[in-house]
C-alpha cells in the first residue's frame, strides 16, 4: 500500500497570526513538503492544478520537475490534472517529459476542476465537463500508446499523423487515477479502462464515498479487469496530530473554524464525526485510517492533506515527521497483514514495465 500527501496549493491567511505567506513562499513550501515526504519515507507526493487565486500551482510539471531533481524515491503525482480544460496533447507531452526526467516516478490523477469560471478562460463550458473528460482522456491514452495518431473529436482541432514527443519512458505510459467526488460517470470511466479510482473523501461522509467506490469496483469487474476487490482504489484523509489529543484539538481548532472549505460551518467535532477528519493522537489517526478498509475494502493508496487552512510550514513539517515516524510504519504493517494475496498493489512504472515485457514475451512464444 502506498502512503503519501496531497496538496491543493492554496494561499490562506494563518488565522492565529493574521499573516499570509507570499505566492513565492507558498510555492517553496510545497517543495519543502515534498522533500520532507520523501525524507520521512512516504511513497507519494501529489499536487493540485489551479488557474485562479488563492491557488499557486498553475504549472504542475514545472514544480514536479524541480522536485524530481531533488528526490530519488518518491512518486510524483497530481491532485488533480485538469483533463477538461487542458489540451490532452499538452498533458501527453508534459507528463511524458516529466516521466523521463523523474526516471518513471510519475503518475497522474485526472479531475475536472470545481470552479465554473475556469472553463470559459480556456474556451470551454462547465456543462460539457463530463464529455470533455471522456473525449480528452480517450485522446490522451492514444497519444501515449500509438506513435502516430489520426484523430477527430468535438472539442479540439483534429490531428493528422501526429506524434506526441517524447514517447513515454520505456513505452510505458504513466499510470492514471481518476478522481471524482460525485460523478458516477467518472467511476465508470476508471472502471472501463481498468485505471485507478481516487475518491477525495476528505469533505464527504462515508455513505457517499462507499456508493462511488462500490460502483467503481462492480464496473471494474464488469469490464473484465479482475475481481471487484482487485480494483485500484485511492482515498484521501485529513489529519492533525499531537502526542495528547487535547493539544491537537486546541491547536487545530482556530484553523478549522476559519478554513476556506468548511470554516464558519459545522463544529470540529461534528465534522470529524461525518468525515475522515481526525484531530488527535497518532494512535487515533492509526485507528481511524485502518477503519477505512472496513468500509471501502482493501485499497492501494492513502493520501493525506496536511498543509491547508493557513497552517504554517513549520507545523506541517512537524506533522510529516509524526506521520512518517509514528503513523505510517504501523499502518503499513497492519494493512499488509490484513490484505489478501490476490489483491494487487498500486501499479508503478516498474510493475507496468515488467507486465509489458511479460506480454511481449508471451507474444513471441505464440
Amino acid at each position: 500500500m502506498q502512503f503519501g500527501v496531497f496538496t491543493v496549493g492554496d494561499v490562506t491567511e494563518n488565522p492565529t497570526t493574521g499573516t499570509t505567506v507570499s505566492e513565492g513562499e507558498r510555492i517553496k513550501s510545497m517543495v519543502a513538503i515534498a522533500l520532507k515526504a520523501e525524507e520521512v519515507g512516504l511513497d507519494v507526493f501529489a499536487q493540485g492544478e489551479h488557474h485562479n487565486p488563492p491557488f499557486v500551482p498553475s504549472s504542475p510539471t514545472t514544480q514536479l520537475g524541480f522536485i524530481a531533481a531533488q528526490t530519488s524515491k518518491i512518486i510524483l503525482s497530481t491532485s488533480t490534472t485538469l483533463i477538461t480544460t487542458n489540451d490532452p496533447v499538452k498533458i501527453a507531452e508534459d507528463y511524458a517529459m516529466l516521466q523521463h526526467l523523474a526516471d518513471g516516478r510519475v503518475d497522474l490523477m485526472m479531475g475536472r476542476g470545481n470552479t465554473g469560471p475556469v472553463y470559459p478562460w480556456f474556451g470551454q463550458d462547465i456543462r460539457n465537463g463530463i464529455a470533455l473528460a471522456v473525449e480528452n482522456y480517450a485522446l490522451l491514452r492514444r497519444l501515449w500508446r500509438e506513435d502516430v495518431v489520426d484523430w477527430e473529436g468535438k472539442f479540439r482541432t483534429p490531428l493528422q499523423g501526429f506524434t506526441s514527443t517524447p514517447r513515454p519512458l520505456d513505452d510505458v505510459p504513466p499510470f492514471v487515477w481518476h478522481g471524482s467526488i460525485r460523478s458516477p460517470e467518472i467511476a465508470e470511466q476508471a472502471a472501463y479502462y481498468g485505471d485507478g479510482f481516487f475518491h477525495n473523501n476528505i469533505f464527504w461522509p462515508i455513505s457517499h464515498t462507499k456508493q462511488m467506490i462500490e460502483l467503481y469496483r462492480r464496473r471494474f469487474e464488469h469490464y473484465g479487469h479482475g475481481a471487484a476487490d482487485q480494483a485500484i482504489v485511492g482515498l484521501g484523509g485529513q489529519i492533525f496530530m499531537r502526542k495528547n489529543s487535547q493539544d491537537a484539538v486546541r491547536e487545530f481548532r482556530p484553523y478549522f473554524d476559519n478554513a476556506p472549505v468548511y470554516g464558519h460551518g459545522p463544529s470540529l467535532e461534528d465534522f470529524s464525526r461525518e468525515t475522515p477528519l481526525t484531530v488527535g493522537s497518532p494512535q487515533q489517526v492509526i485507528e481511524r485510517t485502518l477503519s477505512f478498509r472496513e468500509h471501502f475494502g482493501d485499497y492501494q493508496r492513502q493520501l493525506f492533506l496536511m498543509d491547508h487552512a493557513g497552517l504554517p510550514l513549520k507545523t506541517v513539517l512537524e506533522q510529516l515527521d509524526i506521520l512518517g515516524e509514528e503513523v505510517v510504519p504501523v499502518l503499513r504493517k497492519e494493512f499488509a497483514a490484513l490484505k489478501p494475496a490476490h489483491v494487487p498493489d498500486a501499479p508503478t512504472h516498474a510493475s507496468l514495465k515488467a507486465a509489458a515485457e511479460r506480454a511481449r514475451e508471451l507474444e513471441t512464444i505464440e
Partner: protein, 200 residues
C-alpha cells in the same frame, strides 16, 4: 404496509407557531380524506427550525449531516408533501427556502404538494401563487390548485372560513396522490455504460 406517507415541512419559528398549527390541520384533513377512501396513511412532520444549523452547514460543506439526510430522505420518499412557510418580506422565509435549496432538485418531481403559508394579515395571501408556486413548479412538483393561506384573523373571527379551504386543498392533494408518482433512476445502480459516454 400500503400506508401512504404524507411528509409535512413547516418553517415556523416559534413554539407553537401558527405555521405548525396550520400544518397539523392540513395533515389531519388529508389523513381523514384518505381514511374516508379506505386508505391508511402516516404523517411525518418536519420542523425546519430543528435543522437550521444543519441546513447552513450543508450549504457550506456540500453534504447533509446524518440527521438532515434522514429528513431529506423522508421527503423524497413521501407520497405527498404539505409545505407551510411564514410570510417574510413578501415571500417564503429564508429558512424555508434553504430546505428546498439543499434537497436534490429532482426529489419532488411528479410529487403532489399542498402549498400553505401564514402571515400577519390577509394582504400577503398571494405569496402562495407568486412565491411558493413558482418554486415548486421549478422543482417539477405537482402543486394542487388550492393553496391555503392563514392570517392572524383566521385563528379567531374567521376560523369558520379557513376550515373549508383546508378541506378543499386536502381533498385535492388526496386526489392527486392516487395517481402514480414516477420513481427516480438510481445513477449508482444503473450507470450510463461507458461506450455510450464515449459515443457522446
Amino acid at each position: 404496509m400500503n400506508d401512504k406517507l404524507i411528509a409535512v415541512v413547516t418553517a415556523g419559528l416559534t413554539t407553537p407557531s401558527s405555521s405548525r398549527l396550520l400544518a397539523d390541520q392540513l395533515s389531519a384533513a388529508a389523513a381523514d380524506e384518505l381514511s374516508g377512501r379506505g386508505i391508511t396513511s402516516r404523517v411525518e412532520t418536519i420542523e425546519v427550525r430543528d435543522y437550521a444549523h444543519d441546513l447552513t452547514n450543508n450549504l457550506l460543506t456540500g453534504f447533509p449531516s446524518a440527521e438532515l439526510r434522514e429528513v431529506l430522505e423522508t421527503v423524497t420518499a413521501a407520497d405527498a408533501l404539505i409545505v407551510v412557510s411564514p410570510t417574510f418580506s413578501a415571500s417564503y422565509s429564508g429558512l424555508f427556502k434553504m430546505f428546498f435549496d439543499v434537497l436534490d432538485d429532482k426529489a419532488l418531481a411528479g410529487k403532489p404538494v399542498l402549498l400553505a403559508a401564514t402571515g400577519g394579515t390577509e394582504r400577503h395571501s398571494l405569496v402562495l401563487d407568486f412565491a411558493l408556486r413558482p418554486l415548486f413548479a421549478y422543482l417539477k412538483a405537482l402543486p394542487v390548485p388550492t393553496g391555503v393561506y392563514a392570517a392572524s384573523t383566521d385563528w379567531g373571527p374567521n376560523a369558520a372560513s379557513l376550515r373549508p379551504r383546508i378541506t378543499q386543498a386536502a381533498g385535492e392533494l388526496v386526489a392527486a396522490l392516487q395517481h402514480e408518482t414516477p420513481t427516480q433512476a438510481d445513477p449508482f445502480a444503473n450507470p450510463t455504460p461507458f461506450e455510450d459516454l464515449l459515443n457522446g
